[in-house]
């Protein structure tokens, strides 16, 4: 992006362009500018992008094809009762749109993603394909040790791909770079919580989506510019309901859905979109000073962080939903929108537990399902609108 400073509109237009570009033009351009550089795609939830970066690989988040792509071959691979994401990912692959990628990483998320890794091997036998197991045991000497092995394997495979040697220094540098990025993402969310009309969710969403394809350095710059611009901007306060959105951690809602929610009177002041950007809630780099091994630092950063997600086991003693309730309180949200992809087992199985935690805490919520290509917004609008009406009319009771 670089160059002369953009206006906010230009910045957002550029992000929307990236969001709509299913051909990964920006990745192609990156590869042209970085001869020998490799690009590897990864599916939603958590992937240690620092390792990719350190191996000279551009991490590219593949979040499906949204509402834009007609699905033919993807539908041929999945029954109607499976969520939409894997279909569009297969369609993207079979239509050649992902040819620019040198491989794909499938992080342990659910059975669908897991099996998709196998489908990928069958459909693209010549491409690098990695299923990335993530421990559900969080003891450093048990799960941590296993995760370290997994990460080292990943690192050396990626290095083989890019023709580099694993280099601790490079990994340390990557960790610092991503820490800086995470810090700005946190700032963005803090701003949204404080003055949601300044950074509406639909804008923030585009901004974060840009982080799926841009190199981290550039994305950090985009975030910084945006934050600077909106902090200065005169923007009138809007009287909307302050709500938090949960359940959308994998297949992402289409932009029109987010806009529909906003138009129906909901400010989304927090959410779980694109969890890869926010999985680590703190700076992993802090530990670099005491521990010389950056792989271990990364593994432990993952284990130690308490990001709540449907695809992460909650060990005994931590009630499910406690974190959600805590976030609602901290962000002073007035209600919760439980939005989950249709047929998403992890999110939907989790929902009753979250809802009973919300019930207990006396927090209002509404729930619906969507797909990345949901076209009919009307029922969602009605529901969200009524929810916002209720909060606005009687919220303070």
């Amino acid at each position: 992006m670089g160059g002369p400073v953009m206006t906010k509109a230009e910045l957002l237009a550029r992000c929307e362009e990236l969001y709509e570009d299913l051909d990964l033009t920006s990745v192609r351009e990156w590869k042209e500018q970085n001869p020998g550089g490799r690009a590897v795609g990864y599916l939603p939830t958590y992937v240690p992008r620092e390792i990719l970066h350190a191996a000279g690989v551009l991490p590219v988040g593949i979040l499906g094809a949204g509402e834009q792509l007609e699905i033919v071959r993807g539908d041929a691979c999945f029954q109607s009762y499976i969520c939409h994401l894997p279909r569009s990912v297969v369609e993207l692959g079979l239509s050649g749109r992902l040819d620019v990628l040198d491989g794909m990483i499938f992080p342990s998320t659910c059975d669908v993603i897991r099996n998709l890794s196998g489908i990928w091997r069958i459909l693209f036998p010549d491409k690098y394909t990695r299923y990335l197991d993530v421990p559900q045991n969080f003891a450093p000497e048990v799960g941590g040790a296993f995760y370290e092995v997994v990460l080292r394997e990943l690192w050396s495979e990626l290095c083989a791909l890019s023709g580099r040697e694993p280099d601790d220094e490079a990994l340390r540098a990557a960790i610092t770079l991503y820490d800086a990025n995470r810090k700005l993402v946190r700032e963005l969310y803090d701003l949204r919580a404080a003055e949601p009309w300044r950074a509406p969710a639909s804008e923030a969403y585009l901004l974060l989506r840009a982080g799926m394809v841009l190199p981290v350095e550039e994305h950090t710059r985009v975030l910084a510019e945006y934050l600077a611009l909106v902090r200065e901007e005169e923007r009138a306060m809007v009287d909307n309901a302050r709500v938090l959105l949960t359940g959308a951690f994998c297949e992402q809602p289409p932009l029109t859905l987010i806009r529909t929610l906003e138009r129906a009177g909901c400010d989304l002041i927090d959410d779980d979109f694109m969890p890869v950007l926010r999985w680590l809630g703190h700076d992993a780099g802090d530990a670099l000073e005491t521990d010389g091994d950056p792989v271990r630092v990364l593994a432990e950063a993952y284990l130690g962080d308490e990001q709540e997600s449907a695809c992460r086991f909650v060990p005994d003693g931590q009630p499910k939903g406690a974190r959600l309730v805590e976030t609602v309180r901290r962000r002073a949200a007035e209600g919760v929108v439980c939005a989950a992809p249709s047929f998403c087992d992890p999110a939907l199985l989790e929902r009753p537990m979250l809802q009973s935690a919300l019930d207990e805490a006396g927090i209002a919520y509404t729930a619906f399902k969507y797909a990345e290509n949901t076209g009919q917004m009307q029922p969602i609008r009605e529901q969200a609108g009524t929810f916002a009406d209720t909060i606005k009319l009687w919220g303070d009771e």
Partner: protein, 447 residues
């Protein structure tokens, strides 16, 4: 004369086909499946036999040195006259039914006045429906009469102050009754009457007229012996046939498509509530197939709902969609929501043509996935079933096949809707030869 019959009891339409011992098609019949199944079979079969007589009549004319030249026109006008007679007959049945139901209404006098006006209007139109060169909106009396009744009733409801719903109810009940019984009057009578009507407007010598009459006589009197019947289709299990004489519609569509186009290797059949993608080998033997799951989204009924919603005939959807310049993208093809989707988009200000084009593409997209599931399109491809009559569906299909599999030969037969029945009839011919211990015929039968 010996003949063989195939019956395809589909979810929306019932088709019957009569073939001779060479597998050549003699006659076709079709009716709605909505009514009682047995009745539907009976009606379709009668119609097919009647149609067979037309074919035999044509053959007779072609053998006649002086009449051969007129054969085409003559047959056409007899056919039209026949259809017109048939229509009038059904219309009178419908009227009688409506009047009977109306008599039970709270205000029979007003209802009578309303029906007087409606049926007068319908009879007026009826006369012009079957003039040469006019294209009827549908093959089915239900559709033709229904749309006329509806548009007339709307006005009449205003003038007579009778609720439109009430008038609609009377029609719905009556059409059901008309559809559910086999016509009492002999259709053979009708054919003779039709000939007289046709001859009335035809200038040929009396001698030739006499020849014609005797040709008709001969055809009417000819014994058509139904040697064997094979049933297929969605409702085949309800047919009162022995198990050996019931074939899955997959096999029938495979064989039927092969008979029509022997180079076929992939068959797509879109029926009322199911879509099937079938792969066949060089002999029409099915090698693999895929069907839609329990969700009936994107099947033929979908178009039916859309047509109902727009108060159009099924025939008119395709041509209208073809006028689109910028098709809209439609993701949901839930059949029941079809109407709502349409209303929604119209309210958003999108053009009817563009919405329709989008809907057709959406349907074919679903079909494409099934085709890919069954193995894709590698050689000649045949599209069968009722939806193949729809040009917009065909054009969307052509486009999608090319996009996904490259350029391929795509066959569409004007008789696509009868493909299943044809397959069944060919199985019937084969079954008989097999039973007789003779060498069975080539898989496709001599088409």
């Amino acid at each position: 004369m010996k003949c063989w019959v195939g019956i395809d009891l589909g979810s929306t339409t019932t088709k019957a086909l009569v073939v001779d011992d060479t597998g050549a098609v003699l006659g076709r019949g079709i009716t709605n499946s909505r009514s009682n199944y047995d009745v539907a079979c009976e009606i379709a079969r009668n119609e097919a036999f009647l149609d067979a007589r037309f074919t035999l009549f044509a053959r007779a004319l072609e053998r006649h040195t002086d009449l051969a030249a007129h054969a085409g026109l003559l047959i056409e006008s007899v056919r039209l006259a026949f259809r017109s007679e048939q229509h009038l007959y059904l219309l009178s049945e419908l009227e009688a039914q409506c009047r009977a139901f109306a008599a039970e209404l709270a205000d029979p006098r007003r209802a009578k006045a309303a029906l007087d006006e409606i049926f007068e209007g319908m009879r007026e139109v009826a006369a012009s429906l079957f003039e040469p060169g006019t294209k009827p909106r549908s093959d089915f009396f239900r559709d033709i009469a229904g749309s006329q009744y509806m548009s007339l009733a709307e006005g009449v409801a205003e003038t007579t102050k009778l609720p439109f719903e009430t008038l609609l109810g009377v029609y719905d009940k009556s059409i059901l009754a008309v559809e559910s019984h086999v016509p009492a009057s002999s259709l053979q009578d009708l054919i003779e009457r039709a000939l007289e009507v046709a001859l009335g407007s035809y200038r040929i010598s009396d001698a030739l007229k006499a020849d014609l009459r005797s040709a008709v006589q001969g055809v009417v009197e000819m014994q058509l012996v139904e040697t064997q019947t094979v049933g297929t289709g969605y409702g085949r299990a309800r047919l009162p046939f022995r198990k050996e004489f019931i074939r899955s519609e997959i096999l029938c569509h495979g064989l039927g498509a092969h008979a029509l186009f022997p180079g076929t290797r992939t068959v797509l059949d879109i029926g009322g509530q199911d879509t099937k993608a079938i792969q066949v080998d060089g002999r029409g033997v099915v090698t693999s197939f895929q069907m839609n799951d329990r969700c009936a989204a994107g099947c033929g009924r979908y178009l039916g709902y859309i047509a109902d919603e727009m108060n159009l005939g099924l025939h008119e959807l395709g041509p209208m969609a073809m006028c689109s310049r910028r098709p809209v993208r439609i993701n949901s093809t839930c059949t029941v929501f079809a109407g709502a989707e349409l209303r929604d988009r119209l309210a958003m200000g999108q053009r009817r043509e563009d919405i329709l084009a989008g809907l057709h593409r959406a349907i074919m997209l679903r079909a494409m996935s099934l085709i890919s599931r069954s193995g894709g399109v590698h050689e000649e491809f045949t599209f069968t079933g009722g939806v193949a009559k729809n040009e917009a569906a065909v054009s969307a299909l052509r486009q999608l096949v090319e996009e996904s599999f490259g350029e391929r030969t795509i066959n569409i037969s004007p008789d696509s809707i009868y493909t299943g029945a044809l397959g069944a009839a060919l199985f019937a011919v084969r079954e008989e030869f097999a039973e007789a211990g003779a060498v069975s015929m080539a898989a496709g039968g001599p088409a």
